[in-house]
Symmetry: C4
Subunit: 252 residues, 4 copies
Amino acid sequence: MSNLDSLIQDLVIANRILAKEDVVDAYGHVSVRHPDKPSHFFIARSLAPDLVGPEDIVELDLDGQPVGDDGRQLYLERFIHAAILAARPDVMAVVHAHAEDTLPFGIAAATKLRPVIHSGSFIGSEVPVWDIAERFGDTNLLVTNLEQGRDLAKCMGHGSVALMRGHGFASAARSIIEVVRLSVYLPRNARVQMNAMRMGGKPKPLSKGEIAARAAGYRPNMPETWRAWEYWANRAGCGDKIGTPHDHSPKG
Amino acid sequence: MSNLDSLIQDLVIANRILAKEDVVDAYGHVSVRHPDKPSHFFIARSLAPDLVGPEDIVELDLDGQPVGDDGRQLYLERFIHAAILAARPDVMAVVHAHAEDTLPFGIAAATKLRPVIHSGSFIGSEVPVWDIAERFGDTNLLVTNLEQGRDLAKCMGHGSVALMRGHGFASAARSIIEVVRLSVYLPRNARVQMNAMRMGGKPKPLSKGEIAARAAGYRPNMPETWRAWEYWANRAGCGDKIGTPHDHSPKG
Amino acid sequence: MSNLDSLIQDLVIANRILAKEDVVDAYGHVSVRHPDKPSHFFIARSLAPDLVGPEDIVELDLDGQPVGDDGRQLYLERFIHAAILAARPDVMAVVHAHAEDTLPFGIAAATKLRPVIHSGSFIGSEVPVWDIAERFGDTNLLVTNLEQGRDLAKCMGHGSVALMRGHGFASAARSIIEVVRLSVYLPRNARVQMNAMRMGGKPKPLSKGEIAARAAGYRPNMPETWRAWEYWANRAGCGDKIGTPHDHSPKG
Amino acid sequence: MSNLDSLIQDLVIANRILAKEDVVDAYGHVSVRHPDKPSHFFIARSLAPDLVGPEDIVELDLDGQPVGDDGRQLYLERFIHAAILAARPDVMAVVHAHAEDTLPFGIAAATKLRPVIHSGSFIGSEVPVWDIAERFGDTNLLVTNLEQGRDLAKCMGHGSVALMRGHGFASAARSIIEVVRLSVYLPRNARVQMNAMRMGGKPKPLSKGEIAARAAGYRPNMPETWRAWEYWANRAGCGDKIGTPHDHSPKG
């Protein structure tokens, strides 16, 4: 299998994992940058992630326009991916989703989502909330053009996640595996924080030093990360399609 | 397949989806207006939605009486459907269900259910609560005659949802797909609102302008809606029965 | 199939349903009175309800002793069933379980579990809490003899449910179907009440008149009840074993 | 099957059960002491517990080093097991996991996790919280050496559980069955306590006398414990691999 085929295979697996782990339902999507053409990226055509196969992957440019348009329906919100990948050369993969337990933090302005569990450390020390209404007034809340996407990317800044008020979140990372992991543990971190808050007092978040120590020790293809990828792929019925950790090394 | 057979097929699929997505259990039902005889509608005989097949669909009139009665047991609460379809010529499909997470808002009078997530925008800016006891005193809480059904329809007014105190909700829309979508996202919106409230402060709902913008941009058979129908049908084991978006266009 | 075989079949189905609906796990049990010998009852040998087959059903007397002892291990807490069936000639079937969401109401003395949804009406207007420590001091919390069972039955009185502090609940009804339904909707009622309480204010319970109206209109083998039995049996993989509503009529 | 093969089989089953019951996901592990060489223990190689088979079990010493190293990747946190087994000759089996609903109690310092349900009695009267930062400053929160493991073991003391702030818990018991049971009911106890607290007032925990009475009456291979093991193994798809209670008697 070529590197490109293998990358697209991983993108398909990521779609299935995000569906199985309840990060996406019919809505939500995941993209990966083209390894050889950094101004292009891959994402599914307009289709529920759980139903995506390799034949459903399309190639878009950083304006969100299809490369070699074959007329297939595209995600309305592909501009989220285009804008973040344009703004952040360090980012290789992006997720947008409506995972239910992240949503309360987008509408309860008094409370910030913070990393309270070690697997949540990659969300940064405090997750910003982007409110589309601030610059764009009354919309249908969807990110349907580049300007909106760029505003969201600006809110994310150098971080890895931005919550979107009344809508969902966008997350970004250096690899497909990493962005999936981030997106699966984000709602879990949110639930733990909510539950701790309800017992009164202020839950203790990870310290900045702990967040840094975790980031420093992390490589996307280390065995501990692969273990999770293998586990989630098996749960999603794709265990036979993931190859070995070795196959993934060159993809960074 | 004739238009009518295809509509009944969709009604069967809607039954299965509502069961799979935990909107209904043994109780709850979904109906659709007869496309050619607007004073008739289709609904299952008294049967758990998850077990409904095309042969279980019966035709009723707007008094809730069977057309060509064959003696099969009917839902006690079919008057909910009859009354709403009679009061609202714009409505083509109705759901009644007891989805668990909508129930707290029916008994906690101090708090209104409001749209706090974009997929909840179709519930309107504030969901009314109908209390059967107000006009009918001590009942078994079920809507077992037309008079009660009409009172519920009046409470719903021009809206799309009414909560029923201590019982459940009724929802209404312009198509089967739309009423299913509304009914699936209603409990999710309720959970997000409850979770945000528990963190203190007042969760920010969608603005009236946002609700209007979402309604303006919505057509029941647009690709984004079809994507959800296809996803839910597959989850419910009916993926092979949905045809294509094209088949659905004439049904509005 | 004889009436007795069919009753035992129903008891097996009840075991499977209670497991599937998360009312019981490895622990918890359901019994039914012998239709011809009212001082005997049927219950499984010591086995997780999900694994119970007809061959696992044993016959006990109202002292909790086996009829024709074949040495099989019995439930330690069979005295719950023996004592309730002895105290209550109107009761035909009993469940004891640890359903998770009923447990908070057993340890939060300030709050009573009340019927807040129509399907919870059969729990009565307020559920008593039995604390084994009141009369028996420091125990392992299990009901391991007749004296303890009688004390629990006394707490239940003429009602249908008693919560057991730090342990679970006991429920009683006029038929297997009815006690299963009661036990499945009890945790749901508890969750709705907890969620409504968390939004502030006092959730509105069913009125005494409503509870009475629901009780008056209820017969265990009416089509609406059968619909739930059929649904739950199908979910539990026993859909082919339930016969027809007609088969159940004589069992009251 | 030899005693050792049978013990390893049980360890595999324990891995599968902990995965199925949501105690572990890709992360978390369970170990058992070597019955003949008390300074060795068995644990899986670095692999998600749900995917573990007998061929994945490795033998380590109480420094956490492999016996007969074959180069396979080991769990980074194997020192949790090594240190607890070294400090506690009475302990035969250890679990480390991140079960979601235990996590709030690790970060909400004002509230102690206490046994509030009878199946939670084995956690002791109050669960200590170990904060790695107290002695080791800013780390990645993982227990990656013996010194950290010993500090955790010290916090556990003579008890059976220690929560780990922002990370998870460690539990210890006299047999595999016992440590699995403890670890499955720990999150349930946590949920019940959280739900009771949210209704206001102070939930009533088990008394010390009740905790003692339950401990006194408990033997790992008694029928009531076996019933749970059999149930969980069946749910995890290993029902055919558990043998009979008799096979387990010598393992204490």
